[in-house]
């Protein structure tokens, strides 16, 4: 038996602080609250088993890599969901209120435009703007170069921006 206390301490130090980030990313990858939780649990199990071999460098990147591979493998095992289930979509924040109707309209348009983006563009927006990952971390999750993250992000945001401008809400360069 290896030193379980050492493993537990490393798990506590490197993995547990990343739980919330892992859950956010899992929700972006699975688009389903229950599947996201399952994905994080599977990732935790794998991380726990591998913690003895982890060198302590960049724990988030290490965990996101495990999560990505776990997600890819589980997606291979079952048919991917083609339709987003609105009942299981992440809930909208209830506490966000503003008296300014125009502001609400802008928020609504932005979120609508997000939902209408192609899968790859929506995912990159969710990882960076909603989950708060850096470009390098998002690249790790998607297994693409950082340059691809930047170009997808740019194009995705531009589509949202163009929709706002077309509807008379945004401004800037024509």
């Amino acid at each position: 038996m290896t030193d379980q206390r050492t493993s537990d301490a490393a798990f506590q130090q490197y993995v547990v602080p990343e739980l919330e980030v892992m859950l956010r990313v899992a929700r972006s990858l699975t688009r389903n609250a229950a599947d996201a939780e399952d994905l994080v649990q599977d990732t935790l199990v794998k991380a726990y088993r591998a913690i003895d071999r982890f060198d302590g460098q960049y724990p988030r990147a290490w965990l996101l890599t495990i999560m990505r591979n776990t997600h890819i493998n589980s997606a291979r095992r079952r048919r991917p969901e083609l339709v987003r289930d609105p009942d299981n979509a992440p809930e909208q924040p209830a506490e966000e209120r503003t008296d300014d109707v125009v502001e609400q309209q802008i928020d609504g348009r932005i979120l609508e435009a997000l939902d209408e983006l192609d899968e790859a563009f929506r995912t990159i927006i969710e990882l960076v703007d909603i989950d708060g990952l850096s470009y390098a971390e998002a690249a790790e999750v998607l297994d693409v170069p950082v340059g691809t993250v930047m170009s997808r992000l740019h194009r995705a945001r531009k589509r949202i921006r163009d929709r706002l401008v077309d509807e008379g809400f945004g401004g800037g360069r024509s």
Binding site: F11, E96, G171
Partner: protein, 96 residues
Amino acid sequence: MASGFFARVFRRGRDRPMTCHEAAAVLQQYLDGEIDDTTAVRVASHLDVCRDCGIEAETYERIKSTLAIRRADLPEDSVARLRDFAASLQSGHAPS
């Protein structure tokens, strides 16, 4: 002497105001905090004086801030279950 000349040329390039085209090329990285401090200062200086680029940046900032609201949207019960699960792994109950 030669290195001083090149350093001056390089510095002049870094000091001169950005064009709209240059600012637009790095605007997303600027808004995401993914560029170096020197370039960030140059972008900020450009946005201060260029109306079109300033409005463009505001539009993108608005999009980012609206999307970031969703960041607060993590169900506590889900997080609690995962914390319990992580604790159970540490107690030696990892699934075989």
